[in-house]
């Protein structure tokens, strides 16, 4: 159970370039934080640093409580030659959920009929819905989302907005890089070059 995420005095660089310096963000249970900033400001790198992939130049990322986060990045992590059902069920089980829950979630997100198609036959929005279904069917406290709504239509954004609100209501945490506002109340944090 992760009850809070503290990003303290964080500096992250890629190659020889420092993306941002001295960033402080705190996310508490039930709170969503939207990371904004121009392209290349380091929003994705910040999320990958929180996920543990990138070692920061300085500062720390600290979680109160323990557990792995959910990550939805630019790529959805789905194999083009497998069916949406196989991929969804695998990822839900991998993250500790049950396949029955995975299928129910797929129905809720409006991709029930698309499950028998191969991933390569899905639209970008449908693939993203499959990726987001994983978050709902295998509960984890901290969601790290990298422009999660970009490929979704208005109805999909509403759906995900309701699911995000429910997640926050259960004490979840959301840290999302966005260009458009999140469909839930969120504190904005600007990521910008030093």
């Amino acid at each position: 159970m992760i009850t809070a995420l503290h990003i303290e005095n964080l500096s992250v660089g890629r190659g020889h370039r420092v993306l941002f310096r001295g960033l402080d963000v705190a996310v508490r249970a039930g709170e969503a934080v939207a990371l904004t900033g121009p392209n290349g400001a380091g929003k994705t790198s910040l999320l990958r640093c929180v996920a543990g992939f990138i070692r920061p130049l300085a500062g720390v990322v600290r979680c109160e409580g323990s557990g792995e986060p959910h990550l939805v990045g630019h790529q959805d992590g789905l194999k083009s030659g497998r069916t949406a059902r196989e991929e969804l069920i695998f990822w839900v089980r991998w993250h500790g959920g049950q396949s029955a829950g995975a299928l129910a979630t797929a129905e809720r997100l409006g991709i029930g009929r698309a499950l028998d198609l191969q991933v390569r036959q899905l639209s970008a929005g449908q693939r993203r819905r499959v990726a987001l279904a994983r978050l709902l069917a295998a509960p984890r406290d901290l969601w790290l989302l990298d422009e999660p709504l970009a490929p979704l239509d208005a109805e999909g954004r509403d759906l995900i907005g309701r699911e995000m609100a429910a997640h926050l209501g259960c004490g979840g945490l959301i840290l999302a890089a966005v260009h458009d506002p999140l469909p839930v109340a969120a504190r904005m944090v600007e990521v910008s070059a030093p």
Binding site: R55, P69, L71, D76, K79, G81, R93, W94, H95, G96
Partner: protein, 218 residues
């Protein structure tokens, strides 16, 4: 079903279908061993003398074929991110991938190897030894090859790079396996050393693969 068995089933399905899967490796192996009589002539005595050695080299080359996709595809489509945030340490995930690679490629090749060797003139009595050595060698090829595939992640022309990284590391199992399948007094020692090399690869390669994957993801 536990995450481990879910991962194993997925990796096996992917390895079976990866770039043609086992049919591609076995087809390459059959073609390569068929080229030998065309090159050295049909003299049965000459063919029989090199049958097991050539079989063994073709086996090592055939096992390289599908390595390029072992980690690269997961890296490209973002699945490697999610695999590393899962319940298993990256070392275990990498080991499961290599085990699936061995079952989908090494095992069919181990069945094809005696056929090729005997049709080139190796004695029929050598069949069990060839299959056993090819199976053990395939385990070493899969794990050492997996380390090469992980190291080549995110590089262009990864397939060629993997071959250049991996082939020198395949020299010991080719030497030991060649001794094992060649018959003679050194066969037992060759098989024992081949088994030792395979076990060392299974024990050590996952750490190299996990480190290389973390490096590629950072």
């Amino acid at each position: 079903m536990s995450p481990l068995s879910a991962l194993f089933r997925r990796e096996l399905a992917l390895a079976w279908g990866r770039g043609g899967g086992p049919m591609l490796a076995v087809g390459f192996f059959a073609t390569a061993t068929t080229l030998l009589p065309l090159a050295v002539g049909p003299s049965a005595a000459r063919l029989a003398a090199v049958a097991t050695g050539v079989t063994w080299v073709a086996l090592a080359l055939a096992s390289l074929l599908s390595l390029e996709r072992l980690f690269e595809r997961d890296f490209e489509d973002g699945a490697l991110d999610l695999l590393s945030l899962g319940p298993l340490p990256m070392e275990a995930t990498a080991a499961v991938k290599c085990l699936a690679q061995w079952l989908a490629n090494g095992a069919p090749l181990a069945l094809a190897a005696p056929v090729a060797a005997v049709s080139l003139g190796a004695p029929a009595a050598a069949v069990p030894m060839i299959a056993l050595a090819a199976g053990l060698g395939g385990l070493a090829f899969a794990f050492v090859g997996g380390a090469g595939a992980a190291l080549a992640l995110a590089s262009r022309r990864g397939g060629v790079l993997i071959a250049v990284i991996v082939l020198p590391l395949l020299a010991p199992p080719v030497i030991f396996g060649g001794a094992a399948v060649g018959g003679g007094p050194a066969a037992g020692a060759g098989l024992a050393l081949l088994a030792a090399y395979a076990l060392a690869a299974v024990a050590l390669a996952p750490f190299a693969m996990a480190a290389a994957c973390r490096n590629a993801l950072s």
